[in-house]
Symmetry: C2
Subunit: 338 residues, 2 copies
């Protein structure tokens, strides 16, 4: 069986996550049992939720076990199969983790999903036509419930979730405004991702200043907000929310390293009669088919052209992940393994 380089969680972060939290090891993949397939990973997905798994504080899932392969989405190719459901050569997406190969029990529905790369590149099944895309869909369609003509705002606008959010929001006739870090990302959001405007939060030293800049590009207020960041950005958006606005809470990157990150004026939730709802997309599998269908069509039609930042080789995964947490990526962060 092939040798398999893996990244384990070696120890938990104390405060900020660092490279030495991870450890690279090499093992041999196990011999296949009936019902199993061997997948060679072409791409590993890096996502902010992984930071939460590294800690053992209360979260929505059990923490990542120490000494085990880091959890993560993967896209690859079946190289050997002892399952009637897959054959060698099939392109598949699964949760293979931070490693070059995985041995998967193919029987549980959803453990491994066959994908068609005719019109959609394989890597996009980890981004726009995968978990991040469905995340944007759930927040927009199921929590925010947008109406044509309303104003939608998303933070981390050029990321995998943000870019899918823009395409889905524009398809519904909404004014769509992004928040991102840096002039390059903001220009890209408008010129390539279809945002009507994008605000560079790095130009603002506090929530009041950011809020004023947002107000200028949201003259009708904000009806729906998709939160990927938290902290100052959320404080800046909250006073601009229209009555009966909806906030889908998906990410709190700013707080993942354990620093308290208060919401300064929660009373606005009452005075503006807002709904604020947190969610994790893997608990809403019922929306995946509709979401993937719409997202695949948007990509195939060129209306969603997601950008990717690709690190090279499994050993590069920890640094790429730490960069993602600091916003150094531009678009979907992947690791190319082959």
């Amino acid at each position: 069986m092939p040798l398999n380089q893996q990244i384990l969680l070696e120890n938990r972060p104390k405060g900020e996550a660092i490279a030495s939290n991870f450890k690279l090891v090499e093992t041999e993949t196990s011999v296949l049992q009936d019902g199993q397939v061997l997948v060679r990973h072409h791409f590993l997905s890096l996502d902010p939720y992984m930071r939460m798994r590294m800690s053992d504080s209360k979260s929505y899932t059990a923490p990542q076990a120490l000494g085990q392969v880091m959890i993560g989405g993967t896209a690859g190719e079946v190289v050997e199969s002892r399952s009637p459901r897959f054959k060698a050569g099939d392109k598949v997406v699964g949760m293979g983790g931070w490693q070059q190969f995985s041995v998967v029990n193919a029987e549980p529905a959803g453990a491994l999903r066959k994908v068609d790369t005719t019109h959609v590149p394989l890597s996009h099944y980890l981004g726009a036509v995968g978990m991040p895309g469905v995340t944007a869909y759930y927040g927009l369609v199921k929590i925010i419930e947008p109406k044509a003509g309303q104003t939608m705002v998303v933070s981390a606008a050029t990321g995998a979730v943000g870019s899918a959010f823009a395409a889905l929001s524009k398809a519904r006739g909404c004014r769509t405004v992004g928040i991102a870090g840096g002039v390059e990302k903001c220009n890209y959001a408008v010129s390539e991702l279809g945002f009507d405007a994008c605000i560079d939060y790095k130009l603002h030293k506090d929530a009041a200043s950011l809020s004023a800049a947002l107000k200028a590009v949201c003259p009708q207020g904000i009806d729906g907000y998709f939160e990927n960041v938290g902290g100052m950005v959320l404080d800046a958006v909250l006073p601009l929310m229209n009555d009966f606005g909806r906030i889908a809470l998906c990410g709190m990157i700013a707080g993942y390293d354990g620093r308290p990150m208060p919401m300064s004026y929660p009373a606005l939730i009452l005075t503006s009669r807002l709904k604020v709802e947190g969610f994790i997309v893997s608990e809403h599998m019922e929306v995946w088919p509709d979401a993937l269908k719409e997202l695949g069509t948007l990509v195939a039609n060129g209306k969603l052209r997601p950008r990717e930042t690709i690190a090279d080789g499994i050993a590069a995964a920890p640094e790429a992940f730490l960069g993602l947490l600091k916003g150094k990526n531009f678009g979907k962060q992947l690791v190319k393994l082959i």
Copy 2:
């Protein structure tokens, strides 16, 4: 026409509301036009929302105009009618304001509501079988959507909203826990209002201490929380919320005087996948008939025995209101005018 003592909003609070924000005047009521009725108020309702109206900061309604009669719910009797819909002697509930009489255009549906005092005392139509009761109903039934066996918590537990909440929650088979200020209120909550337990927040100097006390009486966690207070109490409840818990945000008394009152750990909304929703009951008139029917039955059957604190005479209204904001009342705060 009769002389009418009125309380006007004379100026807006700078920080805490004070007695000199109000002014007592006496005028003659106007002569009735066709379609109008003259109502003599027996009771004036005092409610926390009035504090918000006194300020001109962003809120869910236009601020109370200066120099005008303070807004407020009233229960009274028609003394003269030029409307076919009402006759002298009818008991009615409306928004007559802080004054002894009001002249009401009786035609708009809902401006004035005839009530039956056979089984429900008139004053209760301003409390348990009125706006506060319907407020508890909306938050519990429409936002929290409780299931039998779940744990419900309400702050300001012995107030008009809290006591109605307890009866509605117990009727749905839920463990029902209150938070109130002082041992007397807490004992009353359990012995008279049907709460399974009640925590005295005054015994706790910070959110962590209050949270630990709450946890002891909510061994299965908290599924639904009805927030009347905000601040430290909300911080104490949030970490105890079960996954997919719902928080109905109805009051933020602690923040009405303008002090910033942050939510310390909003990331919990994400990690526990909570829904937090603010509302104002007057925007949901569709629930009033069902709510009033259930609340009236609970009162008539003795399952909801709301307590009242009654101030005497219109001149006593400002001090009674300021006391309400400090939690000095015990149950529904009213002013008896006759």
